[in-house]
């Protein structure tokens, strides 16, 4: 039970706005202390986990390319492209992206998207351009945040429909331990209702972006 203090350390540190990297180490040390580890064992356990998880940092291998392309006008091109598409509002752009991301993830194409490879160089500038084409005011911070959010939500509530994704394999493994034999198809079919709910709920939210930004004009009329 003492391991729960590690959560308190994490929350307190983040709320106090201490550098999150230090908070992480402090929380890990607390968890290790609760598990009765010596300082040396704690360092070794964190180090082992740190080394085993290097692959998450390896994704930054794409940064030199993205940086070069941005210096040669990638973001500006994304804006120019949007300027040519008059009927595509911010809400419609994000709705189309959400649907495309869910659909491609559902057939296993989870790589077609992503925060570093797609949102920063392409989706976010297009969303900003779409927002700027609209006459009403909007918060550029929120436009960018919603672009990133839409990528995550499309991925999370699409990928579980695919049969060979890691989470399906994990579920099968765990269930096998309880003597429950299920086929991947039986698990993936149950992800469909949630995927539809996500399209309706988040799709509705992004379409509301268009309506909300029109409102100041109607208030003036009143």
């Amino acid at each position: 039970m003492f391991v729960l203090f590690a959560i308190l350390v994490l929350l307190a540190g983040l709320i106090a706005r201490i550098n999150p990297l230090i908070v992480v180490l402090a929380s890990a040390a607390t968890a290790g202390l609760a598990a009765g580890l010596s300082p040396h064992e704690m360092i070794a356990r964190f180090g082992g986990a740190f080394n085993a998880n290097k692959f998450v940092t390896a994704v930054f291998l794409v940064l030199p390319t993205i940086g070069l392309l941005e210096q040669h006008g990638l973001q500006e091109r994304a804006r120019q492209l949007m300027a040519g598409l008059k009927g595509v509002t911010l809400g419609r752009l994000l709705l189309i992206y959400l649907f495309a991301r869910q659909l491609s993830a559902a057939v296993g194409l989870t790589q077609l998207g992503g925060q570093v490879t797609m949102v920063r160089p392409m989706l976010a500038p297009m969303a900003q351009a779409a927002a700027e084409q609209d006459e009403a005011e909007h918060d550029p911070e929120h436009v960018k945040a919603m672009s990133a959010a839409t990528d995550n939500i499309g991925l999370f509530f699409g990928e579980d429909i695919f049969l060979a994704i890691g989470s399906i394999l994990l579920m099968m493994g765990v269930m096998k331990g309880y003597g429950m034999a299920v086929e991947p198809f039986h698990l993936s079919i149950w992800a469909v209702p949630t995927a539809i709910a996500a399209l309706v709920i988040h799709g509705g939210r992004v379409l509301m972006l268009d309506r909300r930004r029109v409102r100041p004009a109607t208030e003036v009329e009143r």
Binding site: I7, G47, L63, G73, A145, H202
Partner: protein, 315 residues
Amino acid sequence: MIGLGLVYALAGAMFLGFAVVTLLSRRDARRWATALLWGLVSVSFLLGDVIGDTGNGIVAIAIVVVAASGRTLAKHQAADESVAARTVMAMRFGNRLFLPALLIPLAALGGTLLFKAVPGIVQASNATLISLALGAVLAALLCMIWFRPGPAAPLKAGVRLMDGMGWAALMPQMLASLGVVYAASGMGEAVGHILGYVPTGGNLFAQVAIYCVGMALLTALMGNALAAFPVMFAAIGVPLLISAQGGNPAAVAAIGMLAGFCGTLMTPMAANFNLVPAALLNLRDPYGVIWAQMPTAVVMLGANILLLYFLGFPS
């Protein structure tokens, strides 16, 4: 057979390049600590499999100390090319600019399919990451041939983005490691144990709600639905929902996992999804993406509870 070693060698070389470029191209006082930071990350990539768990722990702590020292990552001077110049280039290069950017995910995709279909070239379990790395190298080479920007240009362009992200860039790996330490210290069992004590009075809806909310909560704490799933499935899913209430096991498992994904949307612990984009997009609020996701995540959690309650229990 090609394995993760190739990816780590490439990443290690890149971060070493970041360190060298920082030292050579900057004159401000912060260049030393910045170069040291990327140099340490490079050590982790190049030598991580040699220096042992304790060695890696010391490198990780050194990275934290340097990154938190406040002596790194000073702002770069304004980009070499102004917005006006970039707009002209965008007109000139046109939509072809998207091709190298799209090449990276397409290479990741194509490589994954190819290397799974033709075994023996690349470790099947890591085919996606290896393909992504190869795609990144290919796209960088394409840009070098097309733009002819000079040999150090990709590293300078990359380190500028890296410095712009700062500590957030290192959070995914740090938090993934913290999640491992949590799991090894019995965090999941402790939370599952507590939730098992919440009185439900045998009410099916209350049990479904606790299962789904617990899945989201534990995912938010551990940063990963895959770590939360076995715990909550064992604590509530199997004994209460499946054995006692006769729920459909596949529905309980699948919708439970998706409830966990709602937790992923709400937590800074899932840094690669939530903190990295906020840093990449230069948001003022490092939690801006989480706030943008929060309404969807909360409503989706409710939707999953209702879906499991109404669809998962044939009676």
